[in-house]
């Protein structure tokens, strides 16, 4: 089941491309930032290097062209321009296309590649014909990815390394940041103070680095001083072998391996009985610093061996997503079985069984939380994609828009994040297209020329609230009203609140756009948003102030797999509703129904709340009981009741899909398995709510 190296490369390359995009956008704002330039260069360099290694020659050759340009940039020979960033972004897309092509046997537009190559070469001074083939690609010492390994690095800066402003300590620091490092300075070249040339570098270093970074990443640290230092890199332990306790290396072997000591000398010294290190130094065979470095290496190896189990637990691990899905499925089944166990235990008066059931319940709960947690990812990855979207689209439209983000670290279920992407794209596009005005218009209105879209994510209970706020022109109440009436979504006489009116933009077939652009305005966008969010069991809320901007708030449950819910019964059928939407349950007597004069309204304290009799709505057989229950739900500030025969109680619901055959069933979003093994259906509250609204409208209009 091992991933093929090619897949590993592609996966890594996709990640690098994502980072590259972020770096490029950053570079656009700070074209002189050396750090960012370095990041761009390293990303290109790594893609080129690993690409060549895994036979992606086209990618490697292409990336080489960009790398060449960035080599000049980081040497201050040319400056970063907007045009260059644009080209780089296009190049990034092209590399991605090449990767996609490699995965799916698609064709890449080679003329585009050639065009880009030409454009990059134009950046080179005197337009020197760049080498046709990629320059020597550093032969990586090892191909494997994330395993923890220990490396021996000797770093010997050139004597004049200070002259170009390089601080070797900074490089050592970078190296140390890659993992656990032991640095040993070699001071033997330092002369007496009288002979010291203050600007010559005498020190050199041995570093023992235990890291998950690969050879390329280590080499990358020295990338800017390649010509100004000697750097040797050797793997002295590749993680897996460490279990072999006997492979522990002796000090002497290490010194021989490093070339600090000849094997013959070692042989001779070993016949003496003193501590090896001392003997070697006394005999002048090796310098103390070399012994120290070798000792450090020995210690690092031993330490790594001791720490291996702990280190493994702490380090991260790449797991195919399907395996996690399978795990969640199994935990789901376990939750179901556990609830059956609890039910069985409750039915018998057996103290031992009850105790066991409780223990299992506790464990399953812990296991469930842990499992769902594993699938949590920060939402930030999606955010960075939006940065690009905003940049490209606003340019296309001649607008000046900045995307601010907050809460990128907020974690959400992986599937939820994936499925959130499209609706968020639609909302942001809508803001760019219809929300934010042209710079001149903004200026006239006394606003800054640059518009802002603020995208944030924050945890709130068992959900995440994602807010998209723009400082554009706000929604046009009258236009929406007209449109809604025209589309039959609103009666001529209706005077809904702003809030209710604005929500109509999410209705099917609604669009107020005057012109159809490539961006949005085909009258499908917001409708799609609504459906996607509904499918995630989320809610949308909207606020807008004319001239000030629009805020759309999307609330999404943290996970799609398991929810707390309320179990209800109608006849002998059982249904569940997401508990997060339930406000309270009240009784509905025949008297209440009569008092409402045929309208489906119930008084909850001082408010009249519309309700939907599910028995009738689902056209179910059987008579309703004299006293029914109304489950009052609240969704996006709207309260609606659902009439059921009776409320059974809370239930931990493992959500199961109803499958293809039932995918378009109205009012039902899925199913779950109850403790007794039977199936209950999950009510699709948002969809039912629309039904209730329609029903109420019919009742009011006669």
């Amino acid at each position: 089941m091992r991933e093929r190296p090619n897949d590993a490369f592609r996966e890594e390359a996709y990640e690098l491309l994502a980072e590259l995009e972020t770096s490029l956008l950053e570079l656009e704002d700070n074209p002189r930032d050396k750090d960012v330039i370095g990041r761009v260069f390293r990303a290109m360099h790594t893609i080129k290097g690993s690409g060549a290694m895994f036979g992606f020659d086209e990618i490697s050759a292409f990336t080489h062209e960009i790398e060449t340009v960035f080599d000049l940039v980081r040497n201050d020979e040319i400056l970063v321009t907007k045009e260059m960033v644009d080209l780089c972004l296009l190049a990034r897309d092209q590399i991605k296309a090449m990767l996609d092509a490699a995965g799916g046997h698609l064709e890449v537009d080679r003329s585009r590649t050639a065009h880009l190559v030409g454009a990059f070469r134009a950046f080179l001074p005197q337009a020197a014909p760049a080498e046709a083939s990629p320059a020597a690609i550093p032969a990586p010492a090892a191909a494997e990815g994330a395993a923890t390994r220990t490396w021996r690095i000797r770093f010997r800066p050139a004597h004049d390394i200070f002259a170009n402003g390089t601080n070797p300590l900074a490089l050592l620091r970078e190296l140390c940041e890659l993992g656990e490092a032991r640095v040993v300075a070699q001071t033997d070249l330092i002369p007496p103070i009288d002979d010291l040339h203050p600007e010559v570098c005498y020190l050199y270093w041995d570093v023992i680095l235990t890291t998950t970074a690969d050879a390329n990443a280590i080499r990358d640290v020295f990338i800017f001083v390649e010509d100004d230092c000697e750097m040797t890199l050797a793997s002295i332990d590749d993680g897996g072998c460490l279990d072999d306790g006997d492979s522990r290396k002796l000090l002497g072997e290490i010194l021989v391996e490093r070339g600090d000591l000849s094997a013959a000398d070692l042989e001779r010294v070993l016949t003496e009985r003193k501590r090896l290190g001392e003997v070697l130094v006394e005999d002048g065979l090796v310098k103390p610093g070399q012994v120290a470095a070798a000792l450090a290496e020995q210690q690092a190896l031993e330490k790594q061996r001791q720490n291996r189990p702990a280190a493994d637990a702490a380090s991260s691990l790449r797991v195919p997503a399907e395996r996690l899905d399978k795990l969640v499925d199994l935990v789901g089944e376990l939750v179901t079985v556990q609830s059956r166990l609890s039910q069985t235990a409750a039915g018998r008066e057996d103290a031992v069984l009850t105790a066991v059931a409780e223990e299992v319940e506790r464990l399953v709960e812990e296991l469930r939380d842990l499992t769902l947690n594993i699938r949590m990812l920060p939402i930030g990855t999606t955010f960075s994609k939006f940065k690009r979207l905003v940049r490209d689209l606003s340019r296309e439209l001649g607008k000046d828009i900045e995307l601010e983000t907050a809460g990128a670290e907020t974690e959400l279920d992986k599937t939820v994040i994936e499925r959130l992407n499209d609706p968020l794209v639609h909302i942001i596009r809508n803001s760019i297209d219809h929300g934010i005005e042209m710079p001149e218009v903004r200026q006239v209105a006394g606003k800054p020329r640059q518009g802002t879209i603020h995208l944030s994510a924050i945890h709130s209970g068992d959900s995440v609230v994602i807010e998209i706020r723009d400082d554009g022109k706000g929604l046009d109440r009258d236009a929406i009203r007209r449109k809604a009436i025209e589309k039959g979504l609103l009666g001529e006489q209706d005077e809904p609140s702003d809030h209710d009116l604005f929500l109509l933009i999410f209705a099917a077939g609604f669009s107020t756009a005057q012109t159809v652009t490539s961006v949005s305005g085909r009258g499908v966008g917001m409708d799609v948003v609504r459906r996607a969010i509904d499918a995630l069991r989320g809610t949308i809320d909207i606020h807008s102030e004319k001239g000030r901007g629009t805020t759309i708030r999307v609330r999404i449950p943290l996970t799609l797999a398991i929810i707390e819910s309320l179990l209800v019964a109608i006849g002998k059928d059982r249904f569940v509703l997401p508990l997060s939407l339930v406000e309270e349950c009240i009784e509905l007597t025949e008297g209440d129904v009569a008092a409402a004069h045929g309208r489906n309204l119930v008084r909850v304290r001082d408010q009249l709340v519309p309700y939907l009799p599910l028995r009738r709505w689902f056209a179910m057989e059987g008579a309703r009981p004299p006293i029914e229950q109304v489950v009052i739900t609240s969704l996006g500030g709207q309260r609606v009741g659902f009439v059921v025969d009776h409320v059974i109680g809370e239930h931990q619901t493992v959500i199961k899909s109803l499958g293809r055959m039932y995918r378009d069933v109205q009012g039902i979003s899925g199913a779950t398995i109850l403790g007794d093994g039977s199936v209950a259906l999950i009510l699709d509250v948002p969809q039912l709510l629309q039904g209730a609204e329609a029903e109420e409208k019919v009742a009011t209009h006669g």
Partner: protein, 117 residues
């Protein structure tokens, strides 16, 4: 006034003691000046204490200078000590630079005679 301020600090066991205050910066920019100050101070006393407590910035050139004066002192039978290595950037710098007593100095195989902590 120089960034490197030398003062005599009396005698211990008949050995003349001196103290050199290292300024706030020990980088390649100051390396030439540092070298001169160290040489002068080492000329003047038998026990030289370098006060590094005020150093805020130090690079490899600075470290080499201190190393060099130390080994010169040892070669001439003088004692060179350094104080203030436990504050400011020092602990981190010494870790990064891999300068630790018993590890680095060719003169300190007995592990007692290294400049560095």
């Amino acid at each position: 006034m120089s960034a490197f301020d030398y003062v005599e600090s009396g005698e211990v066991d008949g050995r003349r003691c001196g103290r050199l205050h290292l300024g706030s910066s020990l980088t390649v920019a100051e390396a030439a000046e540092l070298r001169l100050a160290l040489m002068a101070a080492l000329e003047d006393c038998a026990v030289l204490t370098l006060d590094a407590a005020e150093v805020g910035e130090v690079d490899v050139a600075g470290l080499q200078g201190l190393c060099a004066v130390h080994r010169t002192g040892v070669a001439r039978g003088r004692q060179v000590l350094v104080t203030g290595l436990d504050v400011g950037p020092w602990p981190e710098i010494l870790r990064l630079a891999g300068l630790r007593r018993h590890e680095a100095c060719p003169l300190s195989n007995d592990r007692k005679n290294c400049l560095w902590l």
